[in-house]
């Protein structure tokens, strides 16, 4: 047992406990925040310390430490850090749950980090559930009618989803005789390329797994919960849900699909095509349903569904790519980074706006650019990046993903995707128009403390750098796509 390679995770678990403890011991709530940030920083440092260690197996193949896992660990830690920093003003709205909020945020991060390196269906399930359960509690934090409703909805649907996922896993286990991904890989390698029986059963199992993770990543038709939960949850939670939870879903789905099930080729092509179909459906539904929304969080939830669709394009391209999938995976990671920065920018602005009272309607953002240029610019950049306008991060992400898809015979999907980008422009522009051209209800400037301002500036910087000089970041996403341990 080489548990020391789980140093960052152990550090995070301790941080969660420390946060609860600090909440009990100290009156000043800022201390809890400080403890969490210090814990995250320490975990990041520890991740650096295990970085060079080539791929390693941990705890009897329950987990593995590869560059892919490290990429996501950095990402989740960074996201958690920014989310906490961005919500320092907002958490005053939930004074009584200060410690719980932070502790749960840390455990959610812990779950996501474990998810990224889990290589056994048991550990995958446990890590995924750790994240999910933390979110069930986080979503209902404000304890008013709306959040309670969305929290219950989330829990119920989440439970069903876990059942579906488990059923899928049991099928995979039944047909491969192994719970470890590498064991499954050996089993699929033994299937003759023409063999149908095992392939069909596996495909069925994979469909259930895709359905299960489809829920996590809010892919259509498993997206029903997303708009309600995004709308009802406290905004920092929405921010973290829309980024970390979704990205963790993609991380593990990709790992499951790509490690053992790239062979036989027919199987890979089958799930590739199915994912391509889901991608098309997801983008189109998300974008069309976003158009009539007046609540900005609801609108962004549909936009986030549509973004999942673009990410699924990359995963579908993986399936179609037979063996040459490094670039396709790198494109997915790149898109995820770009998406995360854009979501950070937009949602942080919403968090700042709603720190005292809810600012959920698009009309609440009228003339924002005049009331707070920083918020206006950051939100605009984020939205334009989500729209996929060059030279911003989102465009490079899309371009990268689309070239991969086109290269692997999914030109039809690319065309659907680009047309979808135009549809999305309509509702993103509506918000931008409100921000820049509408008359504000009050001229009162929007104040924000240093934390959110840092988060916004960081997000803007990310969006710009990823867009203008992607070479710096492609190295990072390539690094993440390289090492891949079954």
């Amino acid at each position: 047992m080489n548990l020391d390679l789980l140093r960052p995770e152990i550090c995070m678990a301790l941080t969660a406990l420390a946060a609860v403890g600090a909440d009990l011991l100290f009156k000043r709530k800022a201390i809890v925040t400080a403890v969490c940030l210090a814990g995250i920083a320490a975990a990041t440092g520890l991740t650096f310390s295990i970085m060079g260690n080539a791929p390693q197996i941990i705890a009897n193949r329950l987990f593995s430490l590869d560059d892919y896992a490290i990429f996501f660990k950095f990402l989740f830690l960074g996201l958690a850090f920014i989310v906490i920093v961005a919500s320092v003003d907002y958490v005053n709205r939930m004074k009584d749950f200060h410690g719980e909020f932070h502790a749960l945020l840390i455990t959610a991060t812990l779950g996501a980090m474990l998810t990224a390196s889990a290589t056994d269906i048991i550990s995958i399930l446990l890590s995924v559930e750790l994240t999910a359960i933390s979110f069930y509690a986080l979503v209902g934090f404000l304890k008013n009618g709306k959040t309670a409703e969305s929290s219950i909805k989330y829990v119920l649907l989440g439970a069903i989803n876990s059942a579906v996922l488990l059923y899928g896993f049991s099928m995979l286990f039944g047909f491969t005789g192994s719970t470890v991904l590498s064991g499954m890989e050996r089993a699929t390698a033994a299937i003759p390329s023409g063999g149908a029986a095992g392939g069909a059963g596996l495909l069925f199992g994979l469909m259930l797994v895709i359905a299960g993770f489809g829920f996590k990543i809010a892919a259509v038709p498993f997206h029903m919960w997303a708009p309600d939960v995004y709308e009802g949850a406290p905004t920092p939670v929405t921010l973290y849900l829309s980024t970390a939870s979704k990205i963790a879903g993609f991380a593990v789905l990709t790992r499951i699909l790509v490690t053992p099930f790239m062979q036989p080729v027919a199987l890979a092509r089958n799930w590739g095509i199915i994912l391509a179909g889901i991608a098309a459906l997801t983008m189109t539904t998300g974008n069309l349903l976003a158009i009539p929304q007046v609540n900005i969080k609801r609108l962004l939830s549909y936009s986030s569904i549509a973004q999942s669709g673009y990410m699924l394009v990359a995963v579908a391209a993986l399936g179609m790519s037979s063996s040459n999938f490094l670039q396709a995976r790198s494109s997915l990671l790149y898109f995820i980074l770009a998406f995360a920065f854009a979501e950070l920018a937009v949602f942080t602005a919403i968090v700042v706006m709603s720190r005292n009272k809810p600012a959920d309607l698009i009309s609440d953002y009228a003339g924002l650019a005049r009331r707070s240029p920083l918020l206006g610019v950051a939100m605009t950049l984020g939205l334009l990046s989500l729209m996929g306008l060059p030279p911003l991060a989102g465009f490079m992400g899309k371009f990268y993903v689309f070239t991969q898809a086109a290269q692997h015979g999914l030109l039809w999907l690319v065309i659907i995707a680009v047309v979808n980008s135009v549809v999305s422009a309509y509702y993103y522009l509506r918000i931008i128009k409100t921000i820049w051209t509408d008359e504000p209800a009050s001229e009162e400037p929007v104040s924000s403390s240093l934390g959110p301002r840092f988060a916004l500036a960081f997000a803007c910087l990310g969006i710009a750098v990823l867009g203008v000089a992607p070479a710096i970041i492609t190295r990072f996403s390539e690094f993440g796509s390289h090492m891949f341990m079954p």
């Binding site: 306008l389 465009f395 690319v414 135009v422 522009l429 051209t437």
Partner: protein, 494 residues
């Protein structure tokens, strides 16, 4: 070999925008002078380009190449040839004029000039980029400033027009992106010149050459605009602030024609030849339709907008007639239309500003009250209808001559003959408009209309000089263009 002149030209306006953006407290007057200084220095640099450009040489000049995204084999690659150089010069000229025209903008002045400068940067970038990805980036960036410029400082139903403009443009460019993506994966390269240079060899290895051609064309067709995709254009031209209309009509529309020559025709000569009759038909429809609809317009700016559709039809005609002379004609027409339409919109905006009236039916007799504006408007009109000695004549004549004698497309003569009708119609609606707006009963309502001031006279006069200079001495432009168009024709194997 890296000369940096092009980078300087492209990024100088952007630097200006950043500079103005970072100092929120500078007074509006300083902002205006700063914007003028930046656009003027870009103009100066493009004049240097014009002189240093080697008219005898083939291929790209002033090239700059740096690695940009190694993972995608994308380069920061700039360069110009005879087709892009006149458009670069035109854009930098129109930007100066746009700044001068906006001297009276009082509402959110700082932001206005920031967007105007960003717009100039992106358009110049489109004409200079030789890497498909870079080209697309510049192409797409342009949408943002135009959106803000129309929706904040426009008139009429400005937000609707701005959104319509953006959605049309984005749809076109989205399809273009799909085209670029598939071109990239079929060739493994983003180098526009190299892809075009390998010509026929690539066209055969590319499986879906025809769809890629049309995907690329979609973006350019919206921009030019080619007729079934034009409905954003009259709205945008009418509701945009005058300076932006000048940029849109004079400069941005040329991005469409330029793209067609640079990408569609140069990379897919075979496809272009096969589908030329369809494009020519669209060109002729555009010429006649634009002119016919122009007749019915009562709004002065809308009328010029439709005449613009008609004139851009000539560009399309010249491009897809696929002969050396017709391509020269198309390039010449792009320059000439840029100058003439800009002058038309300038004078129209002077008229509309001082009279507060944009309905042609309620205008009249202005030649008496605003003699110099009337003169400029008339000269521009004469250029638009193609009077000999104006650039309009030189361009249209070359286009017709080149198209008529083209051997590449069957039945070209019919298209040309029908298109000639467009010239007739142009003469009719231009003269009718001049008569209705400038002559006729002098209306006492407009007695205190101010004539063009010194600033306005300066840039209008400059346009007039250029229109007649190009008209009387077209070789000034042709000598720049012809080597490069010959290069394109060579790709056709003709």
């Amino acid at each position: 070999m890296n000369s940096h002149l092009l980078s300087l030209i492209i990024f100088l306006p952007l630097a200006g925008a950043l500079l103005i953006g970072t100092y929120p407290r500078i007074p509006a007057r300083v902002v205006k002078y700063a914007a003028l200084a930046f656009t003027l220095s870009v103009l100066a640099l493009s004049v240097i380009l014009l002189f240093r450009f080697d008219r005898q040489a083939n291929g790209m000049q002033f090239q700059e190449i740096y690695s940009w995204i190694p993972a995608l084999a994308a380069y920061y690659r700039l360069g110009i040839d005879g087709i892009s150089l006149p458009l670069v010069a035109l854009t930098s000229l129109l930007s100066v004029v746009a700044v001068l025209m906006s001297w009276k903008v009082e509402n959110r002045t700082r932001e206005f000039f920031i967007w105007l400068l960003v717009l100039e940067s992106s358009v110049l970038g489109v004409f200079c980029a030789l890497d498909l990805l870079l080209f697309f980036v510049f192409w797409e960036v342009e949408v943002v400033p135009v959106y803000f410029l129309i929706s904040i400082w426009g008139s009429g139903d400005r937000r609707h027009s701005a959104t319509k403009y953006v959605l049309y443009t984005l749809l076109g460019s989205a399809l273009m992106l799909a085209g670029i993506v598939s071109l990239y994966y079929s060739t493994g390269s983003l180098d526009m010149v190299a892809i075009a240079g390998s010509g026929a060899a690539i066209a055969q290895t590319l499986l879906p050459a025809v769809p890629i051609f049309f995907l690329l064309l979609a973006g350019f067709a919206v921009k030019l605009p080619v007729v079934p995709f034009h409905s954003w254009q009259p709205d945008a031209y009418t509701d945009a602030p005058a300076a932006v209309t000048v940029m849109l009509a004079g400069s941005l529309a040329k991005m469409g024609g330029y793209g067609m020559i640079r990408l569609c025709v140069s990379i897919f000569p075979e496809v272009a030849r096969r589908y030329a009759p369809i494009m020519l038909a669209l060109a002729v429809i555009g010429i006649i339709y634009g002119a016919a609809i122009a007749f019915r317009q009562t709004n002065l700016k809308r009328l010029i907008a439709y005449s613009s559709i008609s004139h851009m039809g000539f560009v399309l005609l010249g491009i897809f007639a696929l002969s050396q002379t017709s391509l020269v004609g198309a390039s010449l027409q792009m320059v000439s239309h840029g100058l003439i339409t800009a002058l038309l919109f300038c004078t129209a905006s002077i008229i509309m500003d001082t009279t507060g009236e944009n309905d042609i039916r309620r205008l009249g007799g202005l030649a008496r009250q605003m003699p110099s504006t009337a003169t400029f408007f008339m000269l521009a009109g004469l250029g638009a209808l193609g009077l000999p000695s104006t650039s309009g004549f030189a361009a249209e004549f070359t286009t017709f001559l080149g198209s008529y004698s083209s051997s590449e497309v069957a039945g070209i003569k019919v298209f040309v003959l029908v298109a000639l009708l467009g010239v007739l119609l142009a003469a009719a609606y231009v003269l009718w408009t001049i008569q209705r707006v400038l002559f006729g009963t002098v209306l006492p309502v407009f007695n205190d209309s101010r004539d063009a001031d010194m600033r306005q006279k300066t840039y209008c006069g400059l346009f007039v000089i250029l229109i007649f200079f190009v008209g009387l001495y077209p070789m000034a432009v042709v000598s720049i263009v012809q080597n490069s168009t010959a290069g394109v024709i060579k790709l056709l194997g003709g």
